[in-house]
Symmetry: C2
Subunit: 114 residues, 2 copies
């Protein structure tokens, strides 16, 4: 008997959240680095509220956690979350996204806020 880590309904909820290119990329990035909202805004070239709303959805199911450091709020993967082990084999198969952070560093937008 294979161990079941999540129920069907919960799994579908999580997978629906991952089924968005922006959120999926966010999670892959967060698996590699802590990021703040303004970095995501720069990376994805969408409005700041749009990023906040994506992060809220991920936070609402506990996939990510936030930590305020002064003016900025840093997001990271919540590795204690029940769904984290469900996520891991997925994220492992996704292409490395660290080049995006490197791009930020190159044009100075990473330094600006973090």
């Amino acid at each position: 008997m294979v161990k079941v880590s999540v129920e069907m309904e919960q799994a579908a909820v999580i997978l629906k959240l991952l089924g968005d290119k922006t959120r999926l990329t966010m999670l892959k990035l967060l698996d590699e680095h802590t990021c703040c909202v303004c970095e995501f805004v720069e990376i994805f070239q969408v409005s700041q509220p749009s990023i906040s709303q994506h992060l809220r959805k991920l936070r609402d199911v506990g996939l990510v956690k936030e930590e305020r450091k002064g003016q900025w709020i840093f997001y990271s993967l919540n590795k204690t979350n029940a769904y984290y082990t469900f996520l891991v084999p997925l994220l492992e198969q996704l292409p490395d996204q660290r080049y995006r952070l490197k791009e930020l560093e190159e044009n100075g937008t990473r330094i600006n806020c973090c």
Copy 2:
């Protein structure tokens, strides 16, 4: 360097398809057994077109394949599909759905068509 099995955009498309309870359960069932449309109709208690439309989406990305046997069309997981290995660790973590087929057998609705 971890081997990348899928690109971001494709992964998001696949995960969005999995982010629906009906389709996710279908895939888990198909991982265990071949099924035909009428069985899914019975299991999920939705209209036949609804089931057909779900199956079409899964077929369009190549996750499932169909095989006509007389009057019936049997669906199964397409294990040669590029996304199959992406899927496997996910499906493994989902609860076994064979009890649903057992239920069909018990009330005779499995026999009716397959």
